[in-house]
């Protein structure tokens, strides 16, 4: 079974399982490890040579330079570094190397729905519990140079679930995807989504009928958040007293997982990532946060951020925006592609995110839009998807730039990373090569052949079953209460090449 590189094992795996069940032992050659790609080897020492290196750090863009990696960490960057004995060499002459791309807003690799949409506050639920390490989108994103992502809960609630920052270590179990050193965080959401303007409670075409939920206005959102933070303050006080007087005869406070998460926000231990569009709601949350004494780590989407850029900068929030999306609902009617440029000019740590498994594969080109719209310098524009994302997520001491001591998370591009004609050739995380376009291309024929063989096996199994059935006596057939349907899903067979 071919596993490495192609990222196509998810096709093979279910079929292997199907064959195993269907043939009861006949498929003894099937390799159960096909469920996971092996983790790529980590060379002890690695030297990338002769590249244009975009450091996303004070060193800027270094022409004709080398990148030395030792034990998964960057050891040195500079011209004509000496190759240590036994170093794995990568000839990157004519190519460009950038830090691994970091998506500040993603819903990738989530099992099932991204929204626990029942209540207006669901601070107790955790994305880390539902990560799907076999989501093929992880591989597709790696193939676009993505190395880390802020996997967020949806925006159905004023205060939503807890996010998970991951590294795209394709092939590892779900718990090892998690970027363990990343600070904890949580999703907030303002405006049309939490007030359910376009979803429940409306009886229009294409809209699901359902009960209306409080709140239905931006005023109600403000009060819903305020009420919970007041409750969190009470909860914190109650536990402080309990800890001060553990022997008191009082009944100790009941543990509340939702309020615990909010107390962590009040204590500055949990980053708030607030989905928002309009200037009014952005200002509202800034003032509410000021009042309760916490900082909003990032405003997400923040399409009208350009209208209150100084206020966002003064509060110390980051802004993580779409480069150019707008007009898909009323609250984004004033979205402009210059948003990132204005925020950046006014001193806000600014990123462009994907919010999409598709867009996450080409965030380097989203960064190029900061050049197109408003003329952000190229090196600064690339930071919109590298070091700025790392700063917003509190992981900038580890990733986001190419500097000695940082994790060896980097991308080798065929050309200028902001050019539409460039292609991601290799993606490295922790000094391991998780994506290699050449290997991917080389494996395709073998994978196609493997797929063909597997489909043929399933077809044979089905044929044998049908033949056996037709040989059986008619009265036996009548006894069968539920005639088995086809063992092969239609979508599986028709899609095979």
């Amino acid at each position: 079974v071919i596993r490495q590189g192609s990222g196509n094992h998810r096709f093979a795996a279910p079929l292997v399982a199907l064959v195993c069940c269907g043939l009861a032992g006949q498929a003894s050659g099937a390799d159960p490890s096909a469920w996971a790609d092996p983790v790529p080897a980590a060379p002890k020492v690695l030297l990338v040579r002769g590249a244009t290196i975009w450091t996303s750090a004070s060193a800027g863009i270094l022409e004709n330079s080398d990148l030395l990696v030792r034990d998964g960490k960057i050891a040195a960057i500079g011209p004509a570094l000496e190759a240590p004995t036994g170093a794995v060499l990568i000839d990157a002459r004519g190519k460009h190397v950038t830090p691994g791309i970091i998506d500040a807003h993603s819903h990738t690799a989530i099992t099932g729905n991204v929204n626990e949409s029942t209540n207006i506050v669901t601070a107790e639920v955790r994305i880390a519990d539902v990560l799907d390490a076999e989501d093929i989108n992880l591989y597709r994103e790696l193939a676009g140079g993505l190395t880390a992502a802020n996997v967020l809960h949806g925006s159905a609630n004023a205060i939503g679930g807890q996010n998970a920052v991951i590294k795209l270590r394709w092939g590892v179990p779900a718990d090892q995807l998690v970027f363990k050193e990343a600070p904890a965080g949580i999703k907030f959401a303002l405006g049309e989504n939490p007030k359910q303007s376009n979803f429940q409670g409306q009886q229009g075409q294409g809209q699901r009928p359902g009960p209306r939920r409080y709140p239905q206005t931006r005023m109600g959102i403000e009060q819903a958040i305020r009420e919970r933070f007041l409750a969190a303050q009470d909860y914190r006080r109650a536990w402080e007293e309990q800890r001060k007087n553990p022997k008191s005869s009082r009944v100790p406070p009941k543990r509340d997982l939702q309020l615990e998460a909010l107390v962590e926000i009040l204590d500055g231990k949990r980053l708030v990532h607030a989905h928002s569009y309009r200037a009014d709601e952005i200002l509202m949350l800034l003032r509410l946060a000021d009042e309760f004494g916490f900082r909003v780590a990032t405003f997400q989407h923040v399409l009208e951020g350009y209208k209150v850029a100084d206020e966002i900068a003064a509060h110390g929030s980051g802004a993580s925006s779409f480069s150019d999306w707008w007009a898909y609902k009323y609250e984004v009617i004033d979205g402009i592609p210059y948003n990132g440029t204005i925020l950046w000019r006014r001193g806000v740590v600014t990123t462009f995110n994907s919010d999409s498994d598709e867009l996450a594969r080409r965030l380097n080109l989203e960064a190029a839009k900061a050049v197109r719209y408003g003329g952000v310098p190229e090196a600064e524009a690339l930071k919109f998807v590298t070091i700025n994302s790392a700063k917003q997520l509190g992981i900038d001491s580890r990733v986001g730039s190419l500097e000695a001591g940082k994790d060896a998370d980097f991308v080798v591009w065929s050309g200028h990373p902001l050019s539409t004609l460039s292609v991601c050739e290799q993606t490295w995380i922790d000094g391991r090569k998780y994506f290699d376009r050449a290997a991917d291309l080389a494996n395709r024929a073998a994978l196609d052949e493997e797929r063909r063989q597997l489909i043929e096996k399933v077809r044979q199994a089905k044929k044998k079953k049908d033949d056996d059935k037709s040989k059986a006596k008619p009265e036996d057939r009548d006894k069968e209460p539920h005639p088995p349907s086809s063992t092969v899903s239609t979508s599986g067979v028709e899609g095979a090449r």
Binding site: E192, I336, R372, L421
Partner: protein, 436 residues
């Protein structure tokens, strides 16, 4: 009195004609005609709405207005090959959505009649070099007639470059969509599919019978047949005077659609499709079916498709000799991103010239309007833009835009105005909280 009024109107018309018939020359830029070699430091002369001439050295009347575009690059305007621009303003606000009629057979709809001439989405598209759009409705199996619209004008009538460009139909889905959000049972899906297929096939036959009966009646060879506006709309498609645009995405859908089109004797066929069309590249080339690859910036269809299957589909179709246009997957608010769909196809194997052609001249050819649009050539519409470089590169800026010889004021774009306004916002004072 009457005579006086006529004279006034005549003078007005003359004035209007002389204003719009203004001649000017663009000088100093590299001209990229498409379908011909580039002309460095060329001259492009415009008379009124049309291009008069272009070349490396042209004698210019000293009185002629010159527009110095030194260092710039002139390209014909991009053409959206498949769009709902003008039919939709804000997807989430139902009152602004006119894309999708109810019912199965909507062949009589005319897209141009719902085109919002003052849509806020048009100027941002033009600022991105997208100056023309082929607009079609999406509802039912028979969707209606499409129209080619320029994006500048006083009303839809004024902006319709050609009505009834294509006869649109959506081939029914054959396999149940594998969506976690689908709550439809297999049985319900199957029933719906059968009904749609029946409607597709029976209506086509009925329209053919209707056409023949009407012809016979007209020649006195048959009884009178009442006019039927829906079946009447099939006539140009049945006779082959208008191309049939067939929307089909998945492999089984495309295969069935191509078979049906053959059975229905459709002579001019355009397949509006996704990456699965590449699986039929040889057949499409052989049967002379043009393809609108509707969106390159999209995820692969199936988990086991290669990661670049959508990016590479255009190159595969092109290599097989298929006539190819590239669309944007119908993203009207970001119609300006059309060139970047073509660019991704170029990054994954489509020659860059072919990528540029797939959003200009090839679109015009497939729509049958290449005598009017799609390249810089004498007598074509003066619909073009000046850019700082290669427009397939996102970093390139589009500086000036003309539609039918009229320069578009890009600073009138609300997005630009908001930028200008807030970029110059003074620093705010401190916030005086009013306590709770």
């Amino acid at each position: 009195m009457n005579r006086y009024r006529v004279a006034l109107i005549a003078t007005g018309l003359l004035l209007a004609a002389s204003l719009s018939a203004e001649s000017f020359a663009i000088v100093g830029a590299t001209l990229h005609p498409i379908g011909g070699p580039d002309i460095p430091n060329g001259v492009l002369i415009v008379d009124g709405e049309r291009i008069r001439q272009l070349g490396a050295t042209l004698a210019l009347d000293p009185a002629m207005k010159r527009i110095d575009a030194t260092g710039g690059h002139v390209y014909p305007g991009f053409i959206q090959p498949h769009s709902t621009l003008g039919l939709i303003e804000i997807g989430a606000v139902r009152g602004t959505v006119d894309t999708t009629e109810t019912g199965t057979v909507n062949a009589n709809l005319r897209a141009e009649t719902a085109f919002n001439a003052d849509s806020q989405l048009l100027l941002p598209a033009m600022a991105g070099g997208v100056l023309t759009a082929h607009v079609a409705a999406t509802g039912g199996v028979y969707n209606g007639g499409s129209a080619l619209m320029k994006l500048r004008g006083w009303n839809w009538q004024d902006m319709t470059l050609r009505s009834g460009v294509g006869f649109f139909l959506t081939y029914p889905r054959i396999t149940k969509p594998d969506s976690p959000f689908s709550r439809q049972s297999d049985e319900d899906f199957s029933k719906e599919k059968d009904a749609a297929l029946r409607a597709l096939k029976e209506t086509w036959l009925a329209a053919d019978a209707y056409r023949k009966a009407r012809q016979a009646a007209a020649q006195g060879a048959g009884p009178k047949v009442e006019i039927d506006s829906v079946l009447e709309a099939f006539t140009p498609a049945l006779s082959g005077s208008v191309a049939v645009f067939l929307r089909a995405e998945s492999r089984p859908q495309i295969a069935a659609a191509l078979d049906w089109a053959k059975e229905a004797k459709i002579s001019r066929l355009v397949l509006v499709s996704g990456p699965d069309a590449a699986h039929f590249a040889a057949r499409l080339a052989r049967e002379n079916v043009a393809v609108i690859l509707d969106g390159v910036l999209a995820l692969p269809t199936r988990a086991w498709d290669s990661y670049d299957s959508v990016y590479a589909a255009a190159a595969q179709l092109h290599a097989a000799g298929v006539r190819l246009a590239i669309g944007d997957g119908d993203d009207p608010s970001n119609a300006r991103n059309l060139p970047f769909h073509a660019a991704m196809a170029a990054a994954f194997g489509l020659p860059p010239e072919a990528a540029l052609r797939a959003i200009t001249l090839s679109v015009a050819e497939i729509l049958g309007v290449d005598s009017e649009l799609g390249s810089l050539a004498p007598a074509k519409r003066a619909t073009f833009f000046v850019a700082t470089g290669d427009p397939l590169d996102i970093r390139t800026k589009i500086e000036r835009v003309w539609v039918d010889g009229e320069e578009i004021d890009l600073k009138a774009d609300r997005q630009w105005q908001l930028y200008e306004r807030y970029d110059h916002r003074p620093k705010p004072g401190s916030y005086a909280a009013h306590g709770h």
